[in-house]
Amino acid sequence: MRDARADIRRPLGARLWLSGGWLTLLVLGALLAPLLAPHDPLAQDLFAGRLPPFWQDGAQRGYPLGTDSLGRDVLSRMLYGARLALVVALVAGTLTCLIGATLGLIAGYYRGWADIIISRIVDIWMAFPPVLFAILLIAVLGTGLTSIIIAIVVIDWTRFARVVRAEAMTQSAMDYVASAQVSGRGHFSTMLTEILPNVLPTILALLTLEMGIAVIVEAILSFVNLSISTDSPTWGGMIAEGRTSVHQAWWVLVFPLIALFLTVLSFSQLGEGLKDRFDPVLR
């Protein structure tokens, strides 16, 4: 019976296809930005300011998505912006996941003192308003890619700690954990070999969600001018600049906004899709 089931090729599903497709496109665009971008993202051309996208009257060849008020090419800036967004998503997401999931796993499995200490810290941490916290942190650390990543990790590890702790607690109550302990497993090895594999689908789903959130946080910080630096092209920075000229040149605001929206949505949908696919119980 099992063999028959294994033979059925399950389709990937529209969710995984669409979200995976957009993210693949984004990764390719980011990697090949120097080849694909028609212009230097920082080059200004004041004579070519506020050019509309290609289908509107007055568009110029070579500026497919138009230019902003300083005459910088929107498409080029978006491609280079994707690089920063993806670096932040991957690095900040992974670090947040590692720290939060480790602490959550320890709290949920060992309980007792470890749990009390970690849970209290999480409670206190979550009482800070996150965006304000991030702005404060950046103000202290100074702007720059590293500061952004540190700020995201510092704010968001609690999300992982909470969810993974709850999940680890549920799993620890299962009989198979007792069986592992009775067969002479130490606590640490039980945690790693019995609990972790069963919490992994949840961690994976959270990780992709976190990547989307990291992109948003980076955009928020760019929006308040606290991101990497004012002249590096970031989506958040573009949205902030586009806002001031939205009546004259809506495309400066709208294209990065769409990219941001699709990216965050794709990350969360990818996570859900992967969880459905790889969770051993749902499978």
């Binding site: 099992r2 309980r111 198979y176 007792a178 009775v182 067969s183 497993r185 594999p197 051993p280």
Partner: protein
């Protein structure tokens, strides 16, 4: 008959002071089956967990002795104790659906103890696991070894857990209501299987259940537990013919029988319960002074 396991005056208390077990004493003879019966909440499973060292965090052993053969388990360091238990005792758990790790194949879950504790070579352990699966009447053991738990039925999983419990030839197996989660037809098969395996391997078995019918089929000796206190330790035959404690008598009277299938269900009379609870209160007062 020497005792494989003897528990003396074991007390377990919840962190908030509620007593779970009150000076429980019982013995399981080597190669014998000891039944532990009681209502739900009486503390049956906690005795097993205390022996195996898997009590929940909120519970502490506050007194008593657990001797395994000549070894005093309570005097051992936690790590040494885990290894000792791993090599000498095993558990057949209540719910086969949660007792196997859902993310691992069956094979490694059976051989783990052999490889980890007894230091067997992987190929030997695998051969042993295949033999055991055949012994618990699983068809196509090789395929089952490669399966994930969710691909198998509850009855099959319980067979696997039984095979796994006997894998390292432990001296003691604790079966914690091994048939409760299964449907009636499968229950009977599993019960027969456990009894058969126990007889063939000569393992001492502590059989936790709330079903007197089950006890009468498989056990040699038994204890009746109520609210964390042992009311009666008895030889099986003696218990069913001449129960001593009033609660035991009431319990036997309340068991539905084939000869009286349509009669209304008998209850344990309130007078008996009151008497037992008064005893327990006295016991607690004595122990607090």
């Amino acid at each position: 008959m020497s005792a494989q396991l003897s528990v003396r005056d074991l007390s377990i208390t919840l962190q908030n002071g509620v007593r779970i077990l009150r000076n429980v004493s019982l013995e399981v003879g080597a190669g014998r089956v000891h039944g532990l019966v009681g209502e739900s909440g009486a503390g049956k499973s906690m005795i097993g967990k205390a022996i195996l060292g898997t009590l929940p965090h909120a519970m502490n052993v506050t007194g008593g002795q657990i001797c395994f053969g000549d070894v005093d388990l309570m005097a051992m360091a936690p790590k040494a104790r885990r290894t000792w238990i791993g090599a000498n005792a095993a558990l057949i758990p209540q719910d086969p659906l949660t007792a196997l790790n859902p993310s691992k194949r069956i094979g490694p879950q059976i051989t783990r103890r052999l490889v980890d504790i007894l230091g067997w070579a992987k190929t030997n352990a695998k051969a042993r696991a295949l033999d055991l699966l055949a012994e618990v009447q699983i068809t196509d053991p090789a395929r089952v070894m490669r399966s994930y738990p969710h691909e198998l039925s509850g009855g099959m999983r319980q067979r696997i857990l039984i095979a796994s419990a006997f894998a390292a030839e432990p001296k003691l197996i604790i079966a914690d209501e091994p048939t409760t989660a299964l449907d009636v037809t499968v229950q009977k098969q599993i019960l027969k299987l456990i009894a058969q395996m126990q007889a063939e391997h000569g393992t001492a078995l502590l059989f936790v259940t709330h079903d007197l019918g089950v006890v009468s089929k498989v056990c040699d000796t038994m204890s009746v537990l109520y609210a964390g206190k042992v009311l009666e330790n008895a030889q099986m035959r003696r218990f069913f013919t001449h129960p001593i404690h009033p609660y035991s008598r009431a319990l036997l009277a309340a068991t539905p029988t084939y000869s009286n299938p349509t009669g209304s269900l008998a209850q344990v009379p309130q007078k008996v319960i009151d008497g037992v609870e008064q005893d327990i209160r006295h016991h607690d007062i004595r122990n607090h002074i």
